[in-house]
Symmetry: C2
Subunit: 83 residues, 2 copies
């Protein structure tokens, strides 16, 4: 079973990385870029299990390690089709 | 218009970050984690434009800045509903 965790900064938190990406793209001539944000996508290969239990465990993984919940929010996707 | 670019390592490329995540999760008692990979998700706020043109431009942005195409692959999603 594959779990995908999308981690991004909470609204209002300064995103210097995103700012740098946007200004670099503007400098390269991509004037249409108004803003940019950068987040993480962590893909976890997990032993199979009951969907709700697996999701609860992945939530625990986020709270303990994968996301800094003070400044980051996360979203979990489970993909049972992929091994 | 919002474009989301998912950037990840190509298969076969060593992913020390992913390895570290997986072993840390195992150390925290999450034995069900068999492997992990970490990628980037870059969200770009763009001036509106014709869909195919916008996609071609974002592809160019990936090739020039957002992805190191020697070791990384990328996937582009366009979201016209979001401003």
């Amino acid at each position: 079973m594959i779990a995908r965790v999308y981690v991004g900064l909470k609204p209002g938190v300064l995103d210097p990385q995103g700012r740098t990406i946007a200004s670099s793209l503007n400098d390269l001539g991509f004037e249409e870029v108004q803003d940019a944000t950068q987040g993480k996508v962590i893909e976890l290969k997990l032993a199979n299990g009951e969907r709700d239990l697996v999701k609860a465990r992945v939530k625990e993984m986020c709270e303990k390690l994968l996301a800094n919940t003070v400044i980051e929010s996360y979203r979990i996707e489970l993909d049972e089709t992929e091994e």
